[in-house]
Amino acid sequence: MATVSLTKLTKRYGNIEIVHGIDLDITDREFIALVGPSGCGKSTTLRMIAGLEEISYGSIEIGGRIVNDLPPRSRNISMVFQSYALYPHMTVRENLGFSLKIAGAAREDMDRRVAEASAILGLDTLLERRPSQLSGGQRQRVAMGRAIVRDPDVFLFDEPLSNLDAKLRTQMRTEIKKLHAKVQSTVIYVTHDQVEAMTLADRIVIMRDGYIEQVGTPDEVFRRPATRFVAGFIGSPPMNLHEATIDDGKMVFATGEKLPLPGQFKANVATGDKVVFGLRPDDIYPTGHGISSGGAADVHQIELPITVTEPLGNETLVFVEFNGTDWVSRMLNPRPLRSGERVAMSLDMSQAHLFAADTGKTLRS
């Protein structure tokens, strides 16, 4: 078990810089998710921590020890690959025990630890099979078992669930969470799926173009996104984000439509400022079909035409037209709605977000 510290960690390929000097401190036994769109440098960062990629500048500490130039085997880490990377010519038992065999462990010790790991993951009956005879979920489990057997300081996961179908993914997500509760070790988990990151992690690191946009608990990144990018990336369906200009305490949108400026931002903007207004689907709903977090004074009422509805059973996603585009809203206790129908909508302005249009940074103080 160990802490991990990244200091000014940089990766260059020739003249192209992929990761731009990121700093990150991970505490002992913490579950950290690195999340971002493809090409944001999250996998490269993980591979640098693993020692599979050389670092161009900066340093990596694991358990207080600088490991910059150590080979992967000396870092006491284990890694679960997206492709599982099981050794096809070995049985499940041999796959699990491979690291112990290389380390020259005694036969009994090896058997005991393989048995422990396979008991945790329910692999007991599969030990004599080869990877080709396993289903996707079973392979995934073997890959995790191989990581557990090593009893590492840090677990690294590189998009471990992206090869599974949707149902299995949800199931394995829960298993990973249980596993972390059981083995209690530091985990760094890379994913492009914000739902995975939100559900699993203690803290989320959102990356974009080789920079860290925000580090925070799932609640923090959801409720207080630091940038426009984070606001749009975290949450499903995504936040409604629209550009506006401030004019005398109001936000004027491109089509000339106006909304009142949310009270909490009044002190931070002036007339003429270009901003991006953000409102989550939960905070815009047909009146009477949502939950207002603030007082009645903060809820703005407006009548809008419906373009499309997507019923999900317990709720319906309602797309309404405002400012010339569709805004998605979440309708609880849904009633049937028709396209083209004009409905009264409630906009909970106390939950609104405002970002500077040029820098993308939040205008919250």
């Binding site: 085997r73 690959f81 491979f98 290389i102």
Partner: protein, 288 residues
């Protein structure tokens, strides 16, 4: 007759036509081999007969007996030739495969300056017919004093086979996912251990088929060997065939008998590893 039964009849007829076609094709391929075996067992009169005698009238193993009877009784030093062939083929195959593995791995895994030109260069060497090089090679070998030696022929065969083994083994290493070697390194292997524990076993069938091809090339090669060897101490079996030619006559029966002796080991080896060979060829064909 209804539609179904006529369709069934058509399918059956087509099946028969396919089989006949296949039989004719196989016959064309196998006939020369069969002819060699038959010719080694029949008298010269029958071999030379026109029109050809298809069914041998009398069968004798005289040619085989004579072959092993020693000089003067129509014999040739088969054992020595066999030994030379074996030493030269095995040694050059081992070396060519070792170099092929190193080279193939480098081409499959690493990026380096001039990679594609080097690869293209290696492939271009295959376009030069070996016989065109035999005269310069002969002069060079004479100067170096390695003419008519095992070493000289091994060197030539290694050079002949290396581009091919590199190309084939490269394809197989490409098929082994990079992740596996990385996983092995995380599991505690050095780069070297990761190669031998994981990548080598997985590329094994490919390496085996490269070895077979290299071996067969050496075993059957005639043009270079006939130029670069002189004496019993270095001549290989294909060159040994020439022992049956005299100034005015050719002992066709003896030559065929030696050809059969030559074919048997190659055929046995190919038969033993045919599973690997076929599996290896098809799986190597699709580069990932």
């Amino acid at each position: 007759m209804d539609e179904n039964s006529s369709a069934r009849l058509k399918r059956r007829l087509l099946g028969i036509v396919y089989r006949i076609g296949l039989f004719l094709a196989m016959l064309t391929i196998c006939l020369p081999g069969l002819w060699i075996v038959i010719s080694s067992l029949r008298p010269t009169v029958e071999i030379m007969a026109k029109p050809p005698v298809w069914i041998p009238q009398e069968i004798s193993f005289d040619a085989y007996v004579a072959m092993f009877s020693g000089i003067g009784k129509g014999g040739i030093p088969v054992i020595e030739y066999f030994r030379n062939s074996l030493i030269i083929s095995v040694t050059s195959t081992v070396i060519a495969v070792a170099i092929g593995m190193a080279g193939g791995y480098a081409f499959a895994r690493y990026r380096f300056r001039g990679k594609s030109s080097v690869f293209l260069g290696l492939m271009l060497t295959r376009t030069v017919p070996g016989i065109a090089l035999s005269l310069p090679l002969f002069f060079l070998y004479v100067r170096l004093g390695i003419i008519d030696t095992h070493f000289g022929l091994i060197l030539a065969y290694v050079a002949l086979n290396v581009p091919f083994t590199i190309w084939l083994i490269d394809g197989f290493f490409r098929q082994v996912p990079k992740d596996l070697a990385e996983a092995a390194q995380i599991d505690g292997c050095t780069r070297w251990q990761a190669f031998w524990q994981v990548e080598f076993p997985l590329a094994g069938p490919g390496i085996a088929s490269a070895a077979i091809f290299a071996f067969l090339t050496c075993w059957n090669e005639f043009a270079l060997a006939s130029q670069l060897t002189r004496s019993v101490s270095a001549k290989t079996l294909p060159v040994g065939l020439l022992d049956y030619t005299a100034e005015f006559t050719i002992d066709w029966r003896g030559m065929c008998a030696l050809a059969v002796v030559m074919i048997i080991p190659a055929l046995t080896l190919t038969y033993i590893v045919q599973k690997h060979l076929v599996g290896g060829l098809t799986s190597g064909a699709v580069k990932g």
